[in-house]
């Protein structure tokens, strides 16, 4: 136990003192988030609201003009179905639906012969800060439209609708976390091969240190780094990019750990077949780039050509990032969470099996 602990501490010290490793592990994912976050967020600070007018009366057009005149609102118009579809895809943050007969209802309410006319507002309760902004804006607009009419002639009817898709940054942050965990895991191959090449593994074999202690300390170090990465990425995502973390943070951390184990096992497979540090480096790159781009990290898998979708189905990162989006931001499921977990666990078992069979200590 003492040996395992000392070796873990030694590994962490070596890692932390290696500025380059530290940069690639902790800073690089953040650069990705900032870069892609800036590209995808489009620079607009306006709140996008969809407006579906089924009535087409003078009153409904007047209401639409009030919305359009609010400087912080970016209004899109269309049918209710179109607007709800945009909402589903995260293109608008909320939808205002004016039903048929709205004009008549407003007239009746103004004349005191009917109840206030209603306007339906769709927001996503899981995106509560955005939902609140939309609700606030709509209430403000309606209050303005109601000005002078007593009692109120228009009342908002709030409708909750869970969106399936996420805005770009909410999609990106869990994906980048998955990608970082993937890199952290596979990169375990490189120092391992280096240590074997430099006879460090052989030197350690000449001590009573057990092999499980050596491997165990490497895994523990990577898991701790994975936790650090998770905290940083989730923290920056939530604080800087306002990504609403809907899930349990322990579940996020647990998923990170499972993902780290799955990709460490892949790293060990690489270390089993790479003879030099250079070849390990090449193999790691050859694995990580396709994984990065074909596993739905930057865009959803269903927008890729179907041949590539078929490839994505077999990539472990697909399931890690998918699970991460489901757990962190309530993202649309590519596969059920249980399937994702099972794929990652199964992957780990297979890869550790292969490494146990083929890894050479000398």
């Amino acid at each position: 136990m003492r040996a395992l602990l000392s070796l873990t501490v030694a590994n962490i010290k070596s890692f932390v003192r290696d500025r380059q490793a530290l940069f690639w592990t902790l800073a690089f994912p953040l650069i990705f988030i900032f870069l892609f976050g800036a590209i995808f967020s489009g620079g607009s600070s306006k709140t996008k609201i969809g407006f579906a007018d089924a009535d087409g009366s003078a009153a409904s057009i007047a209401l639409q003009q009030v919305f359009a005149s609010v400087p912080v609102v970016d209004l899109t118009q269309g049918t209710e179905d179109e607007m709800l579809a945009k909402f589903q895809h995260g293109d608008v943050s909320g939808v205002v639906v004016v039903a048929k007969g709205y004009g008549a209802a407003v007239a009746a309410a103004d004349a005191g012969t009917g109840p206030p006319a209603s306007v339906t507002i769709y927001t996503d309760p899981s995106q509560s800060s955005t939902a609140n902004i939309v609700k606030g804006l709509v209430s403000g607009v309606l209050a303005q439209a109601n000005l002078g009419s007593k009692p109120q002639s228009i009342v908002p009817v709030l409708a909750d609708l869970k969106t399936q898709d996420l805005n770009a940054v909410s999609y990106l942050v869990p994906s980048i976390l998955g990608m970082s965990i993937m890199q952290l895991g596979i990169f375990s191959a490189i120092p391992l091969v280096g240590d074997r090449q430099k006879l460090i593994l052989k030197r350690l074999s000449a001590t009573p240190l057990r092999r499980w202690q050596l491997i165990g300390s490497n895994i523990i170090m990577r898991l701790l780094l994975g936790l650090a990465q998770t905290s940083i990425i989730v923290g920056i995502g939530a604080l800087v990019f306002n990504v609403k973390i809907t899930g349990n943070l322990f579940a996020v951390a647990g998923l990170s750990m499972l993902g780290a184990v799955a990709f460490i096992s892949l790293g060990y497979v690489v270390a089993s077949f790479a003879k030099t540090e250079e070849s390990a480096n090449g193999m790691v790159s050859a694995i990580q780039f396709p994984l990065m781009f074909l596993s739905g990290t930057f865009f959803p898998i269903d927008v890729m050509p179907s041949a590539l979708q078929g490839v994505a189905r077999f990539l472990p990162l697909t399931y890690l990032s998918d699970a991460m989006r489901q757990v962190m931001v309530n993202g649309a499921a590519y596969a059920p969470l249980a399937v994702c977990v099972a794929v990652l666990a199964g992957w780990s078992v297979v890869c550790f099996g292969i490494s146990a069979r083929f890894f050479k200590w000398q």
């Binding site: 010290k13 070596s14 430099k198 006879l199 030197r203 000449a206 009573p208 240190l209 057990r210």
Partner: protein
């Protein structure tokens, strides 16, 4: 040293190790006694390192028996590892850690270990104690490697080419260190490329080539067994071929080493007189002509056909 009362610390009998069709170690038998420094000499690829790694429990022999400190190495390598110290040919270890940190790390691997301070003092690493190991000089790095071999206060120490690549001063300081360890009663097995090192340090030695031991004993035993002769040495002369040299009076063998010719002879005046006659005839001169006793280097050259330093 090889007396009847000496305790056998390393006993190898008919040791075998094969890699495919290649017999890296082919029937090696020897004993090392408590408190002696035993040298294993041989050209690269002779099987020295493979032999040592089997003694250390790092490789399993394919055949033969092997006991170190009374432990059957093949059956209980982990028991052995608590009680031996090892240096390998490369000593690059944890470049980002300090001397003290690496020592403490290795101490944590053993049930019993010497205090870090004692090791640092013994190996004279005090001024570099908090320096990262990658900043150490070659000699300091090798001293650290020896320190790591000593953390568990081992009874047997294996040093694989401990001074290869060191400058003469660093080499001499490591020799002093090995003498000190011997003074503490440690048993040391070392491999080396340097004849002088073997002559200075080793009580007994074995010469290995092509996986077999071809000579073993104290240095004077080994040299005198092979050579009643002396060596006549001179710079190579154009026009004097080996056949002609070998035909000279009393010459038993002719060897070349780095531009020099070596004639091993049982009658120095007769051989030199033949040599002078031959050079006179060719109207040339044999430069740097010297006569000396045969040394370990000569034994090695004759046995393996190669100079040890190659």
């Amino acid at each position: 040293m090889a007396g009847t009362h000496a305790e056998v610390v390393i006993g190898a009998h008919d040791l075998q190790k094969h890699y495919g069709p290649l017999a890296a170690v082919d029937g090696v038998t020897f004993e090392v006694y408590r408190g002696e420094v035993f040298g294993l000499l041989g050209p690269n690829g002779a099987g020295k390192t493979t032999t040592v790694e089997m003694l250390e429990g790092l490789r399993m022999p394919d055949g033969g028996t092997l006991e170190v400190l009374g432990i059957d190495v093949a059956a209980h390598p982990d028991d052995l590892k608590e009680r031996i110290g090892v240096t390998l040919q490369t000593a690059e270890l944890y470049p980002k850690l300090t001397v003290v940190e690496v020592l403490d790390l290795f101490r944590s691997f053993y049930r019993r270990s010497l205090p870090t301070e004692e090791l640092i003092d013994f190996l004279d690493l005090g001024e570099r104690r908090n320096g990262r190991t990658k900043e150490l000089s070659g000699g300091q790095r090798q001293r650290l490697a020896v320190a790591l071999a000593l953390v568990n206060d081992p009874e047997v120490i294996f040093l694989d080419e401990p001074t290869t690549g060191l400058d003469p001063a660093a080499r001499r300081s490591l020799w002093d260190l090995i003498e000190k360890l011997k003074g503490q009663g440690k048993t040391i097995l070392l491999t080396t490329h340097y004849m002088e090192e073997a002559e200075v340090l080793c009580d007994r030695l074995a010469i290995m080539d092509h996986g077999k031991l071809i000579e073993m004993g104290t240095i004077s035993e080994v040299v005198s067994r092979r050579f009643k002769e002396r060596a006549v040495q001179f710079d190579r002369v154009e026009g004097l071929d080996d056949a002609r040299l070998a035909a000279m009076t009393a010459v038993s063998s002719v060897k070349h080493d780095d531009g020099e010719v070596l004639l091993y002879t049982s009658d120095v005046p007769a051989t030199i007189s033949d040599l002078l006659a031959a050079t006179e005839e060719l109207k040339v001169e044999a430069h740097n002509l010297t006569v000396r006793r045969a040394t370990l280097e000569d034994v090695f050259l004759v046995l393996t056909g190669r100079a040890l330093r190659d």
